[in-house]
Symmetry: none
Subunit: 226 residues, 2 copies
Amino acid sequence: MNGKIFIIEDEPSIIQLVQYNLEKEGLIVSSATNGNEGLKELKKFKPNLLLLDWMLPDFSGIEICKNIRKDTNFKNLPIIMLTAKGEEEDKIKGLDSGVDDYLTKPFSFNELFARIKAVLRRSDPKLVSDNLEFEDLKLDRNEKRVFRNEKEIKLGPTEFRLLEFFLTNPKRVYSRDQILENVWPNNINVESRTIDVHIRRLRKSINLKDQKELIRTVRSSGYSLI
Amino acid sequence: MNGKIFIIEDEPSIIQLVQYNLEKEGLIVSSATNGNEGLKELKKFKPNLLLLDWMLPDFSGIEICKNIRKDTNFKNLPIIMLTAKGEEEDKIKGLDSGVDDYLTKPFSFNELFARIKAVLRRSDPKLVSDNLEFEDLKLDRNEKRVFRNEKEIKLGPTEFRLLEFFLTNPKRVYSRDQILENVWPNNINVESRTIDVHIRRLRKSINLKDQKELIRTVRSSGYSLI
DNA sequence: TTAGTTTGTAACATTTCTGTAACATTAACT
DNA sequence: AGTTAATGTTACAGAAATGTTACAAACTAA
């Protein structure tokens, strides 16, 4: 998982627990314990998602929510509202005010994480890194497997990383320099032509007989998925 | 999971989160927010395990701990101490005072749950009934036995822990570092190649003649069950 | 203690991967 | 068409990762 998450919540222990667990998942987390501070920090931090407590010392979550939506920069910022038990009837109001999802306290981290993933997947699919998919290609990062049309394809380590890299942003054209930086271990120097050879190998592996070519060559620019 | 768990902790939100998650796992949970109340309730509730905060409003966890040990009924009550960050040096004292394990805040619920299971497994194995299965493999944690196709397989201690670890998340690829961290006792340093040898031993043990290979090697990444 | 396990490591064997060079082909441009 | 630069393709030697075996030290149970 990638991305930045901002939390506005007045209970420090909740922040602590959530932050700890989210960071373990590779996310960047920042927080505030009241609405005023929160709105200020938000602009600096530029998160990909906001966790917002319903009841704050200064403002209610719904007020903050409306406030945020006024700012064009955050018009589409996904928000998950945290509500305490017994505020059930307010849920609808919450959703009306432009919240993407809500969660009732107490919640387990797994529940929260699942919601975050779901919301982020909608708003910014790149960030959710579980499995990568494109057309009939599927790449499972946990199991380190690749499938084309449900059929498993065996790839060498570099081929795997290469495909993984392309899949984070399919269709986008990457220069050889960019590929080098992102796919090869740091500070390793290889000839630029080496990439061509690996592309060739990857092509050979993923293009089973008479299937559509998946890697496009953009002459003098680089390669991309297509 | 069965059994009763008592929590003495002054932070209500922590109690709430822990209690919620433990109950989801089938445990019976009760709690107190200070030492006095806690000691009283304890006697009525008769838990199988106690979660004890290090810093309480009235007593320190260590005082409570000593107090409990005086009572013959609770002489052997397993205790897991919850300490805040930066109280590292106190850990030893904590263990001396008859605590079975400790956990530093903030912690993830999964960490806590793993500790609870580990401690309960020692003190009262009946309560922990989690056996692991995958394909035709069965691993009995209580009796420390492993079966393939109903036929028992004898494993050495490290082989057992290794297999146990893989079974918690079969199919997932684990790096040698992850394996090291999770299978070897803390702070023990062994060569990374040592893992390969243990994998080999495990393979030899669980792959009875001409049975399907169960451990997959993922070059440059690690191993997984398959 | 003693005999039998278990463990970590080193050493060697085997497999798989990687980078490069050399040559072939294609695309772009005049 | 001819020229040039970029990319495709192939083969191969060395590198790197993993498999395998043996052994001495540490540990256990009797």
